[in-house]
Amino acid sequence: MDLDKALRISASGMQAQTTRLRVIAENLANQDTTGGKPGADPYRRKTVSFADQVDRASGETLVRVKKVGADKAAFPQRYDPSHPAADAKGYVSTPNVNSFVEVMDMREAQRSYSANLQVMQVTRGLLTRAIEMLK
């Protein structure tokens, strides 16, 4: 039934946004994670990309997380010779996470999530009303 499909599609959208939010949480939590050894790489920012996916059994166009990739941007360097991860010249590589970018991304994920939730609520309303026609 079409309305069940709509519910499943909205659920897939919410799931994809949840994964996105999880990755944002990882990025924010690790925004100060440097390498353990001298010259080692710090935490590299993760990125999420979405893709549409046709479910063959039902013909629904769902959404899924296509790939959790890595941000290839260079690591910012900071001069701190006393740091355990400092290289021979005294520079430490810090994670390429920008908390402003992450927070903006989080807002967007939140908006998309609540849009999907709204659609789900409306769909539920349609279903309820259709069932009430039996009375």
Partner: protein, 129 residues
């Protein structure tokens, strides 16, 4: 199908089916609101679907002579490709637009079910129940 034979039940059923399908299409748009290169989709208007199935347009005046003035404004073309903002990743879904359409679908659905129930109520009345 013959126009006079179309019962209100049939019409309501078709309309509800169409609204359900549209809700599915709009849900897909919202779910893919962050998918690169996704273009918003929509259904053909119900009047067009009905006209194709029954060779008459629901409730609207029919032009029986080309010299007659058209009774209604010309229908909106297609509705498949939507002009709107264009994200850098090629996504063309405007959440506002989609949610507005969903609200429209919701209220249409409410109207159809209300009419349906009233119609059933009339039957009950006639049957004395």
């Amino acid at each position: 199908m013959n126009p006079p034979q179309i019962g209100l039940f049939d019409l309501a059923e078709q309309r509800l089916k169409w609204l359900g399908a549209r809700q599915g299409v709009l849900a897909t748009n919202v779910a893919n609101a962050d998918t690169p290169n996704w273009k918003a989709r929509d259904m053909q208007p119900f009047s067009a679907v009905l006209a194709r199935q029954t060779a008459f347009s629901a409730g609207s005046p029919v032009q029986t002579n080309s010299m007659h003035l058209p009774g209604t404004a010309s229908p909106i073309a297609g509705g498949q490709t939507l002009r709107g903002e264009h994200a850098p990743d090629g996504n063309q879904v405007s959440l506002d637009q989609q949610l507005e359409k969903i609200a429209q679908t919701d209220s249409d659905h409410e109207a159809v079910t209300a009419i349906y129930r009233r119609y059933v109520g009339m039957f009950k009345e006639a049957l004395g129940r």
